[in-house]
Symmetry: C2
Subunit: 243 residues, 2 copies
């Protein structure tokens, strides 16, 4: 009838109280909590329990504890890296197939490119061009930078100035890299990626939404096919095969 109340720990209780206070707006980023000793007395718990709660809140990205005379426990905004890491952890266990990644990317990325082409600014184009220049250097030296690849897609997502789109693209790209690293693409693959990126960039530069969407769709499909080709089609890229 009722959910089993899973945690009955003091630390968990404190975590919930502080998280709720943050979500209610009572505790705002930058706010410094009282010193350990004092706060422990407030809560009526030992220092050890309070510290366990602090570690959990830090893991959630809601708190930062610093040593030193003007240190202490500070409320902070959850940053992108924390959110992304958690998503990547979750996706790791879900172990989605290339097909699933590609299906979602086909929905998202062409539409995002379309939006981006309609409002991209010159300095944003310049930043993407710089990305392509670096990618070209990597390519010519026979290597492939996952970071640059992620960065290309992230920059396009950023043009929308939509924090939700930013989070989704950033997280999906990060999770996808873990698969790509298992596969270790060859030169031919890297070349295709580079050329596709250039075509997408050209579409953005000419502020052509349809073209930008079309080229991104082609790119995402090509990458999906390319990655699938490297995998066992029946059990695509299962990490259980690593051992």
């Amino acid at each position: 009838m009722f959910k089993t109340a899973k945690f009955n720990r003091i630390s968990q209780n404190i975590v919930q109280q502080i998280r709720q206070a943050i979500l209610k707006g009572d505790l705002q980023p930058g706010h410094r909590l009282p010193p350990e000793k004092e706060l422990a007395e407030n809560f009526g718990v030992s220092k050890a329990s309070l510290r366990e709660a602090f570690r959990a809140l830090e893991a959630l990205g809601l708190l930062e504890v610093r040593q030193g005379v003007s240190g202490g426990a500070f409320i902070c905004e959850v940053d992108l890296e924390t959110a992304r890491n958690n998503i990547v952890n979750y996706i790791f266990f879900q172990n989605p197939s290339i097909r699933e990644f590609t299906q979602l990317r086909i929905i998202l990325e062409p539409a995002i490119s379309r939006l981006a082409a309609a409002k991209v600014k010159d300095e944003q184009l310049a930043a993407i061009e710089e990305n392509l220049n670096e990618a070209k250097i990597e390519l010519d030296s026979g290597s492939f930078s996952y970071e640059l690849d992620i960065d290309f897609h992230r920059r396009i997502a950023d043009i929308t100035e939509n924090s939700l789109i930013h989070l989704v693209i950033d997280s999906m790209q990060s999770a996808l890299v873990n698969i790509k690293k298992l596969i270790d693409p060859d030169y031919d693959f890297s070349l295709k990626v580079y050329h596709a990126h250039v075509r997408i960039f050209d579409a953005l530069r000419s502020r052509n939404p349809d073209k930008a969407a079309e080229e991104m769709l082609r790119h995402v499909k090509e990458v999906g096919d390319g990655l699938t080709a490297f995998c066992d089609p029946k059990n695509p890229c299962a990490p259980s095969e690593k051992n």
Copy 2:
């Protein structure tokens, strides 16, 4: 030149070691770590530090610690709730506008409905119909259930059998509810939502992808406009106005 190495804590060190072992596949869900005392000796740290690491790993959803004779610290899969909570925390601070939510939903949800209409099974339709029946009861009693609303969209996303799509829709809906709750929609709004859901259901039942996408698009836009109408157009739904 270098990133400041933020954490130098023993507990953080242990968290990273265990997380890496999980991501490497060396520690799998269900695995029980040695007892506190023994593991603390292994790591060469005190029990207190080890316990702080455990609390952080629990917050990340990677560990579950149970008391009792056959208890201990067990590796576990990150569950949806943990991932969702973290995303909701992040989005809370980003405080995206209704416009941003709607922009992403317009990209995602019609496309997902299209996919769903092409492969929906009878029992999935029955489950959605049941959702609508419950929503009708709520509506007739003059109330509105956010849970049922989320559930409707989640069920459609589930039809795709894509865990990434599932995560994204689930998280976005959960984050959006926090905004809706601030607004407290009136009867007219609830009625519109219900009718839109019925139209989407009809499209799914007739296995009509285009129609399903079209109705979902109309619904998402309608909700976006409806929510915006309730908000200050210059500063949409900023939680700073709660006080």
